[in-house]
């Protein structure tokens, strides 16, 4: 059993615990490498099936290739796919690209707010209809009580304070200081009415592990992660106005693994290509306390 098997088996265990404990379970799929690995792990856990809803938050500023990829995989893997959008903010131009807000506020509106509304079923949801081959408006269903997210502890300071199962109140707020203990293979799966739980099966994975696993399992990923000869590729994916590529010639997962192992990025944060993190000092931590993933 090598280190990837150890990680895989643990994540599979956590995914099944989530499935056994929550009736309204959803998994956030940002189309990025981490949540795509998570999706793959779900297929491992459930023997080729994905028995819960996948949730994507569309800010309308996602790189188009990401959306194409999302829908292709949805069809091929028969995913129960839902996306949500903050149509009010987008419609009224209340966003950073439209010029009315700063980056942090934009993330708060287009991602955090949209996410809150999709989770609570208060906002508009679009569900992929496999018969019709397109998205249709989803009659508002039940709120999600369990949300699986692909965050990793090594990514960034505030994420390392996470538990595998972490309770969030109605406002999606997170009390870092008062978290209950979590040990052995037991998780806090109970929660008061109105609250929901976030589940983090990838907590122990590193960026390197993710790429090693993508390489080993041959998991299909968006090509934006790879250099097509121009010496640039994306290391972390988000909205195009706020995401920038890094200098790299890596053309495939194996070359990325090599690049990470040789320590090329050892002094550069993984999300450094994500502009919102840098605003106001602890941008991501501020966002996360309020419900951002």
């Amino acid at each position: 059993m090598n280190h990837l098997d150890i990680l895989e088996n643990k994540s599979v265990y956590i995914l099944r615990e989530a499935y056994a404990n929550f009736k309204n379970l959803g998994m956030l799929w940002s189309i990025g490498k981490d949540s795509t690995v998570l999706l793959w792990l779900a297929r491992k856990a459930f023997f080729g099936h994905v028995p819960f809803t996948l949730i994507h938050i569309d800010t309308s500023y996602k790189i188009p290739e990401m959306i194409e990829y999302r829908d292709k995989i949805t069809r091929e893997w028969h995913l129960n796919m839902v996306y949500g959008k903050n149509e009010t903010a987008i419609g009224s131009g209340n966003s950073y690209p439209a010029g009315k807000t700063d980056r942090i506020t934009c993330c708060g509106l287009l991602k955090t707010q949209a996410l809150k509304e999709v989770l609570s079923a208060e906002g508009v949801r679009y569900r992929f209809d496999h018969g019709k081959g397109k998205y249709v408006q989803d009659p508002n269903g039940d709120p999600f009580t369990g949300i699986i997210a692909g965050i990793r502890a090594d990514e960034e300071g505030s994420r390392s304070k996470e538990r595998y199962f972490s309770s969030r109140d109605k406002e999606n707020a997170w009390d870092i200081g008062e978290q209950p203990p979590e040990f052995w293979n037991y998780y806090n799966t109970d929660f008061p009415p109105g609250a929901h739980l976030r589940i983090h099966p990838l907590l122990d994975w590193t960026e390197l592990n993710v790429w090693e696993y993508i390489d080993r399992e041959k998991i299909p990923t968006v090509s934006l992660y790879y250099s097509k000869g121009g010496g640039k590729r994306y290391r972390s994916l988000g909205c195009y106005p706020c995401t920038f590529p890094v200098e790299s010639d890596a053309k495939d997962p194996a070359e990325i693994v090599e690049e990470l192992r040789t320590g090329k990025f050892s002094n550069i944060a993984e999300r450094s290509g994500r502009a919102q993190d840098r605003e106001d000092g602890g941008g991501l931590e501020t966002l996360r306390r309020e419900g951002y993933m």
Binding site: I6, F46, F183, Y186, D190, F191
Partner: protein, 603 residues
Amino acid sequence: MELAVKDRDTFSVVFTGHVDHGKSTVLGRLLADSGALPQGKLESVRETCRLNSRPFEYAFLIDALKDEQSQGITIDSARVFFKTKKRDYIVIDAPGHVEFIRNMVTGASRADAAFLVIDALEGVRENSKRHGYLLGVLGIKTIVVIVNKMDLVSFDRSRFEAVKSEFSGFLDKVGLVPVSFIPASGLMGDNVTVRSEKTPWYGGRTVLESLDGFDGIPVLTEGPFRMPVQDVYKFTKFGDSRRIVAGRVVSGSVKAGDEIVFLPSGKCARLKSIETFNSAPKLEASAGDSPGFTLAEEIYVKRGEIAVKKEGPRPNVTSRLRASVFWLSESPMVKDKEYTLKLGTARGSAVLESIDKIFDPEDLDKDTGENSLLRNKVGECVIKLKRPMSFDIVSDIRETSRFVLVSDNNIAGGGIILEPLKDKQSWSRDKVIQRDIKWEKSAIPYRLRHRRYGQKPWLIVVTGEKDAARKTIAKKLEEDLFSEGKIVYFLGMVNVLYGVDADIKGAGNDKEEHIRRLAEVSHIMIDAGMILIVTAIEFSREDIDLIRTSVESDNITVIWVGNKVTTDIEPDLVIERPEDVENSVGKIRRHLAEKNALEYDEE
């Protein structure tokens, strides 16, 4: 024994010890001297201290690093990431936190190894012992004791030996054997990364050498097979007809073809195949794997049971146990309160029956007559479960002896089981498990039978005060169900009394044996696919527990007939005005419908 390969992966350690004995200092020194710090960091913190005329502390260095954005090392209130030449490390829970024990437990349970720091001058203190004890309860096998501040005792060998012998004596009593003791000075750097000239009498490793010398955690591939069942999957919606029993193997291994027993139910089947997705077919699954398998015979198993091999030692099944419990919640653990106990994938209600001993770092053998377990205390307790569970004891298989207690939605404590204790049903349960293991299955899979009969077999127990309209209501219910095409049968206690029980009738007060036999007859009729209505006078809670021991607990409904419940029974439904038979039967029917009883469904 196989070792998990941890080479390129991160290795996690936790620093524990009494406050001010030097956890942060040793850690800070380790980071500084192993070259993990960003350039100039140490100097700038020293400079800040000088400017504010405060003595430099390594603890400040760790605080200062919390604001760092650099990637070589990351620190926050939860962990420190750093690298040595050999591998990557996570130090879990940077020391000095108020909620130390709670976080230590979370951290230590994920740790591969632990350091315990003791001040050479002050010697062993209360928390040195408490932390040592907790590490043992949590199951951390690799423990290194750092005897710190050796500079304050002039690197005196006899002082080191004295601390070592006192603490070894203590650890020995609680069943822990530390890997080694290191005489060190975090402040001066002696034996942290470089061997000290001041301890020529010490031939062992430095702190860094022991860190890099730790092995991976042994995976228990030998030993009896144990797999708590997480779920049974049937994804028919997706056009998949496999029925897959999924879980995580925590001990031993299993192969296709092995005979498996599920406990507490005692159901048996042969393992047909091990299922995977996107990997080579597997013939064997062992500790650490999260497999799924199909069974050769169709049996009803569910989450919460534990799969074991038919051959080899079996776990205990009972509803009372003696355990070492550590309590982490602000409100103490008390008697007369219901907690939720999670053991493997099983979950159920539990109460504290007694506290026999509370761990006292000063006096291990002291008995305390206390009634509650306060936060951060460890006690030896007897716990009573509402329904029996299956488990091992810690000296046999650690993994299946561990449980947690949940209170107000949060994990409030944990424990390891020291001993199974008999409960009121043990005498009958042992027979039932044996019965199930020996059971010769019919040629007709149960699902086919249920489909043919168009029903879910069910036991409806109708009890109540003498002279109440029990039998009238039960028989009317039988008629109604029969006329709707159900295969249903009425069985009065008396019918068993003069037949099956003829040999023991009147022979003393053997009510329990009468009930056991009634339950066994019921078990056979339910296995035959029937809906069975049983009546008896004034059943108590224990009587019902005894019936549940023999008959699948999920498929029983208990009804009390009469205005007043005169026993300690907890019925599913009380019929308050039994004179109105029509109405009473209607109520029972509605209750059964709500519970999804009787009607056949595919899954």
